[in-house]
């Protein structure tokens, strides 16, 4: 069975601080995809980043970066120089072809001015 765990329920930071959101996943598949989605107060889930299981190279995209560690089944997400508009609930998700997306319980991030 596939499972995604996000141990941090809520995080509060002050604007301009860096913040890392943790994600741990479980799967028996050797090929899979990992995602981060953002859900702002408006409610619509917005795609942020995607990583496939056979590429562990970590990347940076603007203020977003991610750290994929297959050995520990972790896919952590970092926002650099956080802004108030980053306040939202962030979901980590796991998917493979022919299967449904499995979402974690989410981490609520509050960025204070």
């Amino acid at each position: 069975a596939q499972k995604v765990t996000q141990a941090q329920t809520e995080i509060s930071v002050v604007e301009k601080e860096d913040v890392t959101l943790d994600c741990v996943y479980e799967t028996r598949d050797t090929t899979y995809y990992l995602f981060w989605y953002k859900q702002p107060p408006s409610g619509e889930l917005v795609f942020l980043i995607r990583r496939n299981s056979f590429d562990e190279q970590n990347e940076i995209s603007g203020r977003y970066s991610w750290n994929f560690q297959k050995s520990t089944s972790s896919f952590n997400f970092t926002i650099t120089a956080s802004q108030v508009v980053d306040s939202a609930v962030y979901f980590c998700a796991l998917w493979n072809y022919g299967q449904n997306f499995v979402f974690g319980p989410g981490t609520r991030l509050s960025v204070l001015p």
Binding site: L45, W95, G98, N100, V102, F103, G104, P105
Partner: protein, 117 residues
């Protein structure tokens, strides 16, 4: 429109009534997913369509829930004899994924908020 469209955006009904929620996916997207999200929780999988057929309906909580996608585009989630515990936001998402194709990104609608009194 360009995105996933869900109607109604809000539905208030009484316990025991029948409800239909509609999802119009992005044109050309073969995969369509229904999720349910309760307050403070992550999306909970209900059912997934690949074309017209339900590829996985293991998330439907019981036989009061049913979904169709007769022409491989618009989908309707049907809930019979609604109960107060059915109150949630019902999310629809579509994806261009095929068996060997894309990498599965989901595009979500804004959801249909169902309140059962």
């Amino acid at each position: 429109g360009a995105g996933v469209s869900q109607t109604p955006s809000n539905k208030v009904t009484e316990k025991g009534k029948y409800v239909e929620l509609r999802c119009d996916p992005i044109s050309g997207h073969t995969a369509l997913y229904w999720y349910r999200q309760s307050l403070g929780q992550g999306p909970e999988f209900l059912i997934y369509f690949q074309g017209t057929g339900a590829a996985d309906d293991s998330g439907l909580p019981n036989d009061r829930f049913f979904a169709v996608r007769p022409e491989g585009s618009v989908s309707t989630l049907k809930i019979q004899r609604t109960e107060r515990g059915d109150s949630a936001v019902y999310l629809c998402a579509s994806s261009p994924q095929t068996s060997g194709g894309s990498t599965g990104e989901l595009f979500f609608g804004e959801g249909s908020r169902l309140t059962v009194l």
